[in-house]
Symmetry: C2
Subunit: 277 residues, 2 copies
């Protein structure tokens, strides 16, 4: 169930990339991970917008937007009922060594389609368990919010958590502020309101995070960005995590701290599960 179904490089099926690609050499690029459900890439416009913002901030010229859209549609058309589409765009091949971005560069797009399973119902009902990573994220990151390819912090923080015991690990920054999970954003529920850390100093501006903030307002649930500490987390009425693949998922415990299931989380989850855009 975990094997890749297909990989395309600049739209051409094939599984390899030139070794001089700056994505490999320097992590010089961005990526998106979309859920494809019944052939529909969910929240596609939001993913496309975030990718464009990231490419613009990194100064990567990407002229293949229309080709990419067609490739996404083609991949979605051949996807199983539930699939993940991962899209990487790098600054392309380096004609010469060195960090400096070449003035002329041709971005490379690398797309792969993976089958995925829905999250087990009992995890959604009882909530997932989270660790807290020992690794601290230094801030302010010049690339806060971007889904760029420099992901060693996520790799090392998720690797230190026991896979048997924990679904994911929470990241704190060097100022002991909550950032996110290693592969999800995090929300606290407090007096019926939703609180989530801002993403202007660290973390990724998750597409599902933005959907939650938008849809909470539609449901007349208060939702705010706010710096949050470990004691805010321990004092929360409930906690949930979000990403494009799993949607909204309640948290049962963070290490030894146990949290209640709250109606607002199940209500949000049901509401958002029905959406595709």
């Amino acid at each position: 169930m975990t094997d890749v179904l297909a990989t395309w490089i600049n739209g051409v099926e094939g599984g390899s990339v030139p070794a001089d690609d700056r994505g490999l050499q320097y992590g010089d690029g961005v990526f998106e991970t979309l859920l494809v459900r019944n052939g529909v890439p969910r929240f596609l416009a939001a993913h496309r917008d975030r990718m464009r913002r990231g490419l613009a901030q990194l100064g990567i010229r990407f002229l293949a937007g229309e080709a990419l859209d067609a490739e996404i549609a083609r991949a979605a058309g051949m996807a199983p009922p539930l699939a993940v589409l991962k899209i990487i765009v790098t600054r392309g091949s380096a004609a010469r060594r060195g960090y400096r971005s070449p003035e002329t560069h041709e971005a490379r797009r690398i797309m792969s389609l993976w089958p995925t399973a829905p999250l087990a119902n009992d995890l959604i009902e009882r909530g997932v368990d989270l660790d807290i990573a020992r690794l601290r994220v230094p801030t302010p990151s010049p690339f806060a919010g971007l889904k760029h390819l420099n992901r060693l912090e996520n790799v090392m923080a998720s690797t230190e958590a026991s896979a048997d015991e924990f679904f994911d690990a929470l990241l704190m920054d060097t100022g002991e502020q909550l950032v996110s999970g290693t592969s999800c954003n995090v929300f606290l529920v407090k007096a019926g309101q939703l609180l989530t850390p801002p993403v202007d100093r660290a973390g990724v501006a998750g597409v599902m995070r933005a959907v939650v903030l938008r849809e909470a307002r539609r449901l007349a649930i208060g939702a705010h960005e706010q710096q949050l500490t470990m004691s805010d987390l321990i004092g929360a009425d409930g906690i949930f995590i979000t990403n494009a693949r799993i949607g909204v998922v309640p948290v049962r415990r963070v290490r030894e701290h146990v949290f209640a299931m709250t109606d607002v989380v199940s209500r949000l989850r049901a509401h958002i599960e029905a959406l595709d855009a």
Copy 2:
């Protein structure tokens, strides 16, 4: 003069890497850049040691040390009189999606050989010009000192400096402490002593930096690691930069601040140029 001469993946000549390589997906790996001079890979033991430390810290199992040594020797044997050998070792292909390091993984080595030219004599005599990057490096980095593949900071900081005007750009951290150049370490000369920033909170533990610290002691030149600010830099008697390719190179100016050439730098350079290990 800038085209790659050869590339080897796990010792086999060829220029492409599977798209699921975790080096590309996450920057999950390390690299070394060696100067090969007259067929000799300079300071090979130091490069090998740093790479092993980096792999150990990232938990990447690398069992191909002997094979890599043989491949380095082979590449050095076919190199032009002056060449750069870049060696990347990644955590290898991901059998499944996700940040977490697979318990079993097979590291991948990617080696490329490039011709290079000696630095122009007039640059060595009059010194190079440096910019100061606007980008600030957040600290403390959990990967300080390592030559890992997450290099977006270096890419963006070197790209913002004018290539016509500046040889490289200096990096400051978010606490306004000097870190390094984007592709070199930096030393100040002050009252005949050498001062360089520590690399335990940010920056790369450069091989040439270590050679300078070692050889300075042999030449009875005081050399110390010390936190350094912009005002320390402006007040220095002289400045020089180091990396494996260029060795020891004096700095003529940092933006508008002009520095004198000092005897200690030319003495160090001449001494170290004669060494291969």
